[in-house]
């Protein structure tokens, strides 16, 4: 299935998200085609796709560079996430089955354990899992797509945030509140919990103007 251009696309996206390509770094098509041993058109196609995903910036006849997401933009993005994740949480609360509720509670328990044992990386992974699972449970493909795109743009900021001391403890309670509301089948409360969580993220982002 995976054509070559698809492989180049994935490799480049991964490289950007993992930080191998620094923000504002120029992405010269020839260099990339050599680096990934693919043709320049494949690279070109991948660059266009990445531009649409908001990971790179392209200017006419001037090439592409890794998009640097400013703190202000990260806040904007988080605001949109706030309302869309709120929607997903509400819909998830409406549709959740008992089995799925147990699964969510299980994730919550593991998150608590991770925070208790100071496993920041594990907590970060669980965090991502939880948000993804809620998106899936919501059955809202459109919202899911929007959130996926937005998340990719702010992985760097998210990571920095997760590393801030004391942050996991705060976010854990918010996550548990979301889980509880969804498992209770209460859309209103679930939406408010999700929004509250993202509001807290925004506050934390505003906090560090380093």
């Amino acid at each position: 299935m995976s054509s070559d251009s698809g492989a180049v696309l994935d490799a480049m996206r991964d490289g950007i998200m993992r930080g191998e390509f620094v923000p504002d770094q120029r992405l010269v098509e020839t260099d990339l085609s050599e680096r990934f041993s693919a043709s320049r058109s494949s690279v070109r196609s991948a660059l266009q796709q990445l531009a649409n995903e908001g990971l790179v910036e392209r200017i006419q006849n001037r090439g592409a560079r890794v998009r640097a997401v400013s703190l202000a933009e990260a806040i904007e993005i988080s605001e949109v996430r706030m309302v869309v994740e709120g929607l997903c949480a509400a819909k998830a609360a409406e549709r959740v089955t008992p089995a799925e509720a147990d699964e969510l509670r299980e994730v919550g328990a593991r998150m608590s354990a991770a925070v208790a044992s100071g496993d920041v990386l594990g907590y970060s992974d669980l965090n991502r899992s939880l948000h993804r699972r809620i998106r899936e449970l919501s059955g809202q493909a459109t919202a899911g797509g929007v959130l996926e795109r937005l998340r990719a743009q702010i992985v760097r900021h998210q990571f920095r945030l997760a590393m801030q001391p004391g942050r996991p403890a705060v976010s854990l309670n918010e996550h548990l509140a979301i889980i509880h509301a969804i498992c209770s089948g209460d859309p209103e409360t679930a939406e408010q919990a999700a929004r509250g969580h993202l509001r807290s993220v925004i506050e934390a982002l505003r906090a560090y103007k380093d």
Copy 2:
């Protein structure tokens, strides 16, 4: 400035949104390149962009076709619009200046006049203007981009909806409520008004299962 590929892109997007290309219609690259007298790579690039905008669907080695947005998908999209437009309305209420408020009220007056005189097309245009202006006033570029993309996908449904008898009268009041809340500088009410309007749109969409 406008390169050829950009021209092809705009022409194709316009063609799809204007209905010259029917939903599910196959879009063969060779045909398109001949029709727009452009090279196949330009067409190819445009197709990729349109796929990212959600207007066409592409399958590996199987070509592109105009994406048919089902009623269910239109409802999903409207749900996302509901929360994001709510965000924009709230932020617009926070930032609006007196001059801009007057401008909004002016649009409201023209909408009332259009409905009173049965000018459905004019009302539809004003509707679009209003939503766009609110997006601009919100200063939320991210939300604006999301909404722009979503709107393009459901122009057809929006148009059908606007044509439904009695619909403009209902939506007019909702629009006036949004305008009033924003001009009052009341974010909470503005968000609720915007959400109420979109909720009404969703209801109307659900109504016709023809």
